[in-house]
């Protein structure tokens, strides 16, 4: 029982991260009908931005590891001040990483996807693969191919729960931040004018344009939003498991995409549900079966869902137009 509870907690925490990434996939797919292969790599960039920001801001944990704590940013911006590891530090690092990745998402959209939007979806898909490869290999050149260790942004400790399970404070932080971000996204999409425009674009791009919506701007905004969420996921994952490398986004990105498909692609609550399901299934397989099969789980789920319910759990069945 305690094993089950423990795996469930781990699964939900992992699933929340998958959900955040899946949201970006689902939104971009919604507006452009494009699998943004590069999304997983934006998540990777997010984690690395968090790493450099944390070191730049001079978080104590980083200082203890001797990784450039009194760097240029710390001296220049904070007057040589060193930030204490705390939740505020974690939030600052995360928000800055989100802003940087939002800009990255906009740049990718503007310079890679927009020029090929006039061609077929296949061309766009290949371009996305190209951007993904570029970020992975560019990341290996810029960040270095070897894994890096994320500084501790706040003190982690284990909190004992009933039934012998325990929960790490990092997991609580991950869950709370993920929840806040998801609610925020829900508000943006359903309660603002831009969100309304996003839904219109995802419904039909041509007619949205005819209705006077600046579709280019909306698509850009969608990329910015999705990329920011991916960056948040990157920082959160690094808080949970502080080992980051330039190829970390490939598998996680694919699994998050599977989560988006599982929930019904284009459907925002679906992406969250799919992410949680994938995360829980994966940790259960690790806990009860064998860790070596954990990477096959997501794909097995994907294949089953596409064969039996291609529209996903919460998606609406799309009629093929002749």
């Amino acid at each position: 029982m305690s094993t089950f509870l423990q795996q469930l907690i781990n699964g939900i925490s992992l699933g929340a991260i998958y959900s955040l990434i899946a949201l970006g996939y689902t939104m971009v797919y919604g507006v452009l009908k494009l699998i943004n292969f590069a999304h997983g790599d934006v998540y990777m960039v997010g984690a690395f931005m968090g790493y450099y920001l944390a070191n730049g801001l001079g978080v104590r944990g980083a200082q203890a590891l001797g990784q450039g704590a009194d760097s240029l940013i710390a001296r220049g911006l904070l007057g040589g001040g060193v930030m204490q590891p705390s939740l505020i530090t974690a939030l600052v690092v995360m928000l800055l990483a989100m802003a940087i990745c939002a800009a990255l998402g906009v740049i990718i959209e503007r310079f890679a996807y927009r020029p090929v939007r006039k061609y077929s979806r296949l061309t766009a898909l290949i371009t996305a693969i190209g951007v993904s490869l570029l970020l992975e290999n560019g990341g290996q050149v810029v960040f270095g191919a070897d894994p890096k260790f994320f500084p501790e942004l706040f003190r982690k400790r284990n909190i004992d729960l009933f039934g012998g399970a325990s929960i790490n404070s990092a997991d609580i932080v991950v869950l709370v931040i993920a929840l806040v971000l998801m609610i925020g996204l829900q508000l943006v999409v359903y309660r603002t004018k831009t969100g309304r425009a996003m839904r219109a674009v995802s419904f039909n791009l041509q007619s949205a344009k005819l209705m006077g919506i600046n579709t280019d701007r909306i698509i850009m905004f969608t990329f910015a939003l999705g990329s920011a969420l991916a960056a948040a996921a990157g920082v959160l994952v690094a808080i949970r498991i502080p080992r980051i490398d330039p190829l970390m986004g490939i598998l996680v990105g694919l699994k998050a995409f599977v989560a988006a498909v599982l929930g019904g692609i284009g459907n925002i609550p679906g992406a969250v549900l799919g992410g949680l399901l994938i995360g829980i299934t994966e940790t259960m397989v690790v806990g009860y079966l064998s860790p070596t099969y954990k990477d096959a789980v997501a794909f097995a789920i994907l294949i089953l869902i596409l064969l039996f319910r291609p529209s996903g759990l919460l998606g609406s069945v799309a009629q093929e137009k002749v």
Partner: protein
């Protein structure tokens, strides 16, 4: 009759040429008799060139086979490396456990790999073909990007399983595979692949495949059993990828599941996209270019993949059909809707489909405004 005669002459000349090269450069090394007549520089350079040539031969097999399903049938599959892995591992298992014995027995003193290699290739191709059937039957019901992601998933699952099968080394990799580097055999398989794909494309079967690529619904309406044809093309393509895997397994004598992850599939994909989907010559060109280019860029080894990916993006933006591709492969996918230019001005005719869509979007977008205005009226009436 003269056609067959011409074919026979070409076949004899090509086979003779390959056989001669194989004799002069056994296993990519230089025949001792020939070595005497070469300068030291040439003796150093030639094996290197032959090594690259053989790798290019393997790449041609993989690229041309992938082009059959991606380029000619229009089914976007990105799990090619998985089938390649099935072919490589099954044939390697055969060669280690039975093939080596067979070769030793046939050859007397020195192992004679002829028959054993033919058997290994057949086994690899058949196993990969069967894997293609198992994967293809369920997944080819899907279209476009879903098919892409499912094939990618299957490819990845194959790699996960290989990582867990201890009989073939698991994650440590499979070593001790007999090395049978044969210039003759590699290029024979490559040429066979080209000939098979070319003949398929020129046949009624191939016309059915191309009709599926151009418009699946129309093809079905014309009586083409699209599922059957798609699966057949997929199985053939997988089997040929398996043969490519066989060649690779016996090239280095070592296999690792890591080298069959989807990066490998993407590499093959980039070859056929660079050359142009739906062009055999293009695939060959792409395969050769992308095998030779890394050697030329050896000085910038770490930038190699960066350059590749940039190249791919720029190619997609400037010439999405590839160097020699037919544009047709890029029109069919989004169907009729895509053929309209996107930057349509408002003065253009609006179709019925558009207007109904506009209505529904109008409802969605104007909902707020209407509610606002009704609120406003409500306020007015209160006054």
């Amino acid at each position: 009759m003269s056609r067959y005669l011409r074919f026979l002459i070409i076949a004899v000349v090509v086979l003779g040429l390959l056989f001669g090269l194989d004799y002069l450069f056994p296993g990519g090394a230089i025949h001792p008799e020939l070595r005497k007549h070469l300068s030291d520089n040439a003796a150093r350079l030639l094996p290197y060139i032959f090594r690259i040539a053989m790798l290019a031969g393997i790449a041609i097999t993989l690229a041309v086979s992938l082009n059959l399903i991606n380029g000619f049938t229009g089914q976007f599959s990105i799990g090619h490396a998985g089938f390649m892995a099935v072919g490589a591992y099954s044939s390697a298992y055969f060669s280690v456990n039975f093939g080596a014995n067979l070769a030793a027995r046939l050859g007397g003193g020195k192992p004679a790999w002829g028959l054993a290699l033919v058997l290994a290739t057949l086994i690899g191709a058949v196993c990969a073909g069967l894997a293609g059937l198992v994967v293809g039957v369920p997944s080819l019901r899907l279209k476009g990007d879903y098919l892409a992601i499912v094939t990618l998933g299957f490819g990845q699952i194959i790699v996960v399983f290989l990582n867990n099968i201890e009989a073939v080394g698991g994650a440590r990799g499979y070593s001790g595979i007999p090395i049978v580097k044969s210039f003759f055999w590699i290029f024979l398989i490559a040429i066979l692949t080209i000939v098979i794909v070319r003949n398929i494309v020129k046949s009624a079967f191939g016309r059915a495949l191309i009709s599926i690529r151009e418009d699946e619904l129309a093809a079905e309406a014309m009586g083409v059993n699209t599922t059957r044809y798609k699966v057949m093309a997929f199985v053939i393509s997988s089997a040929m990828a398996g043969a490519g895997g066989v060649l690779l397994a016996h090239f280095d004598g070592y296999l690792n599941p890591k080298s069959f992850e989807f990066i490998k599939s993407f590499e093959i994909l980039i070859m056929i996209i660079l050359g142009g989907l739906g062009s055999i010559v293009g695939s060959v060109l792409g395969a050769v270019l992308l095998t030779v280019l890394p050697e030329a860029l050896r000085g910038f080894a770490e930038y190699r993949m960066v350059i590749y990916s940039l190249l791919l993006i720029i190619l997609m933006i400037t010439r999405p059909q590839g160097l020699l591709g037919t544009t047709a492969a890029f029109k069919g996918w989004r169907g009729r809707k895509q053929k309209r230019p996107r930057s349509r001005t408002e003065t253009e005719e609006i179709t019925a489909e558009d207007s109904s869509a506009i209505d529904s979007v109008a409802k969605a977008t104007l909902g707020e405004r209407q509610r606002d205005s009704s609120l406003g009226q409500g306020e007015k009436s209160e006054h």
